[in-house]
Amino acid sequence: MSAEIAMSRPETVPRRHVLTPLKEHPEWVCVPALFVLVVAVWEIGFSLASVPLYIAPAPSDIYHALVNGLGSGLFISNGLATLTEALLGFLLATVLGVALGAVIAQSRFVEKTLYPYLIAIQTTPKVAIAPLFIIWFGFGMTSKVIMAAVVAFFPILVNVIVGLRSTDASRIELMRSLQASRWQIFTMVRLPSAAPMIFAGLHIAVIFSVLGAIVGEFVGSRKGLGNLIMQLNNNLDTAGVFAALVVLSAMGIVLHLLMHALQKKLLFWSEQHQVAQV
């Protein structure tokens, strides 16, 4: 009997402990735990100190404001407006950044001529130009798209130039040995070689474009999350402001993850999966 039981026992497969995944990924516990801790201290601390709502909200106030804002569609419509501005600006910046970067990388002469001007423009705080864009392009969407594009443009441009410049010389030599034209070398070797670097720029730029759109909305607008935050702020609705910020940061996270997924798909061959974060 006892032998039978011994036989029927499964072989001593090292069974994975229930907690093993958590040992491998401590962040699955730590990150939510920190959140709960901060929220709890915040909530209890605020109620003990009875901080008035017009100074700062407790987490429960933010939660209610968030539910109300999402339920009324206020956050959705304004969020979509900001998202549209940011994405259009990002696209514009990508097209211009890649095109101008490619031209500059072709010739030292062009680079030497244009670079001081580009640096001058880059070092000017973009927020300071925003009021001008309102004068030139109005209160509508255009001025926000331009603002987002201006902010997102430089990280792309710089990465395109550096990426195209740093092509492995042996790859170009290979192409030359095959009598490849300049255009063939550019499209078949230089551009794909620069892709990981360009992607690092796009990663920064997509987040910057949201920043640009918000700044544009702050300066003058009729809708968008930036506009909404200004209104809520004027009404001393701090809970609403915080709720809008939550929506805004959720948008940023989604954009970041989308870029990450796109990069993993397109640049599967690159060792440079990790992108420098800003």
């Binding site: 492995d168 042996s170 790859r171 030599e173 290979l174 192409m175 030359r176 040995s177 095959l178 009598q179 490849a180 063939q184 078949m188 070797v189 794909p192 892709a195 640049l267 061959w269 690159s270 060792e271």
Partner: protein, 274 residues
């Protein structure tokens, strides 16, 4: 010049007297140092290479053997002299020359097969015809099963074999190899040496192979070109008579020892080898 690649890998008839394919006449290369002095790096070199020959070029580091190869490939300009391929003076890269570099230089975003097809894409060759040839070449280098893998999934030796297949895909008459196995470990290198002999025999190409290994030069070459250093000049030309079929055992034969000793003496006399 605008010859379509033929399906046959063999071009020269066995036994036929080799016709002159490459002629180097008074070939020289000078460099200008920062202080403005002219330094003679290579030459003058006069050399005639026949169709179907396997020429190895051996010399100490910095003797200009890579410079010689790159001038033949049309990748760097020569200072004086002429290079003729098939009787035509050349200036710049040629359709009829395939190059294998020191590193494989595969494009990591393309599969093995697509990498081999690169010359066909650049030269706009007929795709259906060339892809059949590319598969045939991948099989010849023993990588038929790896056609749809990416370079980072291959070992160093496999990557260099892909580079060899790529250099042959547009059916050039001449294959230039610049220390292609220098980065490989000793055992892989010996295997590759046997392989490249077989590929040469099967394809009937004219090969110019640069190396700094004396045994490798003797094992591979039907003629060994010994270069002296600064400036790189032809110190000796050794006709290697070890038969067409060579396996690694050849390296332990007396005759092999005689050839390597003869070449080594050139470098000993110059003090490159203690």
């Amino acid at each position: 010049m605008d010859r379509m690649p033929t399906m046959s890998l063999r071009r020269s008839e066995p036994g036929a007297p080799p016709a002159a394919l490459i002629e180097l006449d008074n070939l020289q290369k000078h460099y200008r140092t920062r202080s403005g002095d002219r330094v003679q790096a290579l030459g003058p070199i006069d050399l005639t290479i026949g169709t179907g020959e396997f020429i190895t070029v051996v010399g100490p580091s910095g003797c200009g053997k890579s410079t010689l190869l790159k001038m033949l490939a049309g990748l760097i300009p020569r200072t004086s002299g002429t290079i003729r391929v098939n009787g035509q003076a050349i200036d710049g890269p040629q359709r009829d020359i395939g190059v294998v570099f020191q590193s494989p230089v595969l494009l990591p975003w393309k599969t093995t097969f697509e990498n081999v097809m690169l010359p066909a894409t650049v030269l706009k060759l007929d795709r259906t015809q060339t892809s059949a040839r590319a598969m045939q070449l991948l099989q010849m280098v023993g990588l038929g099963d790896f056609a749809h893998r990416y370079p980072n999934e291959l070992s160093g030796g496999m990557q260099q074999r892909v580079a060899i297949a790529r250099a042959l895909v547009h059916d050039p008459a001449v294959l230039l190899m610049d220390e292609p196995f220098g980065a490989l470990d000793a055992m892989t290198r010996e295997t590759m040496n046997v392989e490249i002999r077989r590929i040469w025999r099967e394809s009937g190409k004219t090969v110019l192979f640069v190396t700094h290994s004396i045994p490798e030069a003797v094992f591979l070459g039907s003629r060994v070109l010994v270069l002296s250093s600064r400036p790189g000049c032809i110190a000796d030309v050794v006709d290697v008579d070890l038969g067409a079929e060579r396996d690694l055992d050849v390296m332990t034969s007396d005759r092999f020892g005689i050839y390597t000793r003869r070449i080594r003496q050139h470098f000993q006399a110059k003090g490159f080898i203690e």
